[in-house]
């Protein structure tokens, strides 16, 4: 999937995260979280796995995490990528 425009998905509420995506030549994942030390690595793992499954190979993905669970991270990252892509349609097999 190709990120062709800037998009945003999620909220800043507790247990949620705000994900912003923008087109870029390379893949850059930027994560901010109040629990960076304890969960930063796990958040990155889930984000990268989600991007891999959607075949996103470049773009800037910015995460402002407020304590989202893995299932929430997946949903928000997918949501932002879909909103930032041309077709915006989900291929369920990919998830």
């Amino acid at each position: 999937m190709e990120i062709t425009k800037e998009a945003i998905c999620g909220t800043l509420e507790s247990n949620d995260l705000l994900v912003k995506v923008a087109p870029r030549d390379e893949l850059e994942v930027v994560i901010s979280s109040a629990v960076m030390r304890q969960f930063g690595a796990r958040i990155r793992e889930v984000v990268e796995e989600t991007l891999r499954k959607m075949e996103v190979s470049h773009g800037q993905i910015m995460i402002e995490d407020k304590g989202g669970l893995d299932c929430t991270i997946r949903a928000r990252v997918q949501g932002a990528v879909l909103r930032g892509s041309e077709c915006g349609e989900l291929d369920w097999r990919v998830l």
Binding site: I8, L12, E13, L18, K20, S32, M62, E64
Partner: protein, 356 residues
């Protein structure tokens, strides 16, 4: 307190009653409504306005929440809404925010990161932890060795022999010169054309790098007054944010030691900016090393200081012959080709003269 708040958009130009409500809410927090705000994101409890955040391009300002609703995570909901609207509806996903320093922690909780602050009066923030960081990284790749590294920031609307003179004089006083062209597209001549003309006009000169501008340097983000027509109250205009950003981030990234600027005989605001440069860039106290500010007397031709505004006036009059005495051939050629006035001559002259 009712949990259910409604968010809405309010256009202050089109909705006079709504604008009044917002103005009142802002005043109750000692804030005035800025004239350049294009849309407000507002929160209502039933029909009462309880919070607002203004958007002027990519700048968020005039943010306030009624006292009874503070501390209820309304700020996060409001700023969340602002980011959604700005990204999905207005094409701005990199946002800046102005607030008073004591509110910084509040907005840090909303995904904004501090850039610079001016004592107790204002703080500029952006909604990414890597905005200025990434920009400086790019700048660092343009570093040059040398004891004296200079910088000049020009609008060049359009590039004139005066700008060439400034650059030549600056080059005599430094080992390398970085020239930045203001990238805000708010001038008579488009940014793309201005940048082309600068490159063309400086072609052949060595020990110099021409840089495109950015949001972080003389833009509507850092120095909004510069772009507002008829700025009367010059004293009220803040130049500090722009200059502090330069001193704390941009200058260190390029190793800049000297900032060069032409003397300003005409515009009071630009004159103030030059004066403020001494204050903010040269003082011993402050983040980032102190710089030297060097004012270079403006070039005069036929006893008259060369100015871009005069070039624009000549453009309006169609007098390319006179223009050639104060602007290089490349500038004259492009103006003739792309910006020559066909009809409505008188009006256009006035327009060109008043814009920066």
């Amino acid at each position: 307190m009712n949990n259910q708040l409604d968010f809405d958009l309010l256009d202050p130009q089109e909705n006079a009653d709504g604008a009044d409500e917002v103005r009142q809410l802002l005043r109750s927090s000692d804030l005035e409504m800025d004239g350049d705000i294009q849309v407000f994101v507002v929160a209502r409890d039933r029909s009462t306005l309880v919070a607002c955040a203004g958007l002027a391009g990519d700048v968020v300002k005039c943010v306030t929440i009624a006292p009874a609703y503070r501390g209820t995570s309304l700020a996060r909901k409001l700023i969340n809404e602002v980011q959604h609207v700005a990204t999905m509806k207005r094409g701005h996903n990199h946002l800046f925010l102005y607030t008073k320093p004591h509110n910084v922690p509040l907005f840090e909780g909303c995904g904004f990161y501090k850039l610079v602050s001016v004592l107790d009066s204002a703080c500029l923030m952006e909604n990414t932890p890597v905005g200025i960081r990434d920009y400086c990284e790019i700048l660092r790749s343009f570093r040059h060795a040398g004891k004296r590294i200079g910088c000049a920031v020009i609008n060049a609307n359009p590039f004139t022999l005066g700008h060439l003179h400034l650059v030549r004089q600056a080059l005599k006083q430094c080992d390398w010169l970085h020239v930045f062209v203001v990238s805000e597209d708010a001038s008579a001549i488009s940014y793309a054309d201005r940048l082309d003309l600068v490159r063309a006009g400086l072609d052949g000169l060595e020990r110099l790098t021409v840089h495109g501008g950015s949001r972080y340097l003389v833009s509507k983000v850092t120095f909004p007054c510069y772009f507002i027509k008829d700025t009367c109250v010059v004293e009220a205009c803040s130049t500090a944010i722009d200059l502090l950003l330069f001193r704390e981030f941009i200058a260190p990234a390029l190793g800049i030691t000297h900032r060069f600027v032409g003397t300003e005989p005409f515009c009071p605001l630009t004159r103030k900016y030059n004066q403020d440069m001494h204050k903010w860039l040269e003082s011993a106290s402050g983040d980032g090393p102190a710089l030297r500010v060097v004012e270079i007397p403006r070039l005069e031709v036929a006893g008259r200081p060369v100015s871009a505004s005069y070039v624009r006036q000549l453009l309006g009059e169609g007098d390319f012959e006179a223009m050639a005495t104060i602007a290089p051939g490349t500038t004259v050629a492009l103006l003739r080709e792309k910006y020559a006035v066909r009809a409505g001559r008188g009006q256009r002259v006035a327009q060109l003269k008043s814009l920066r």
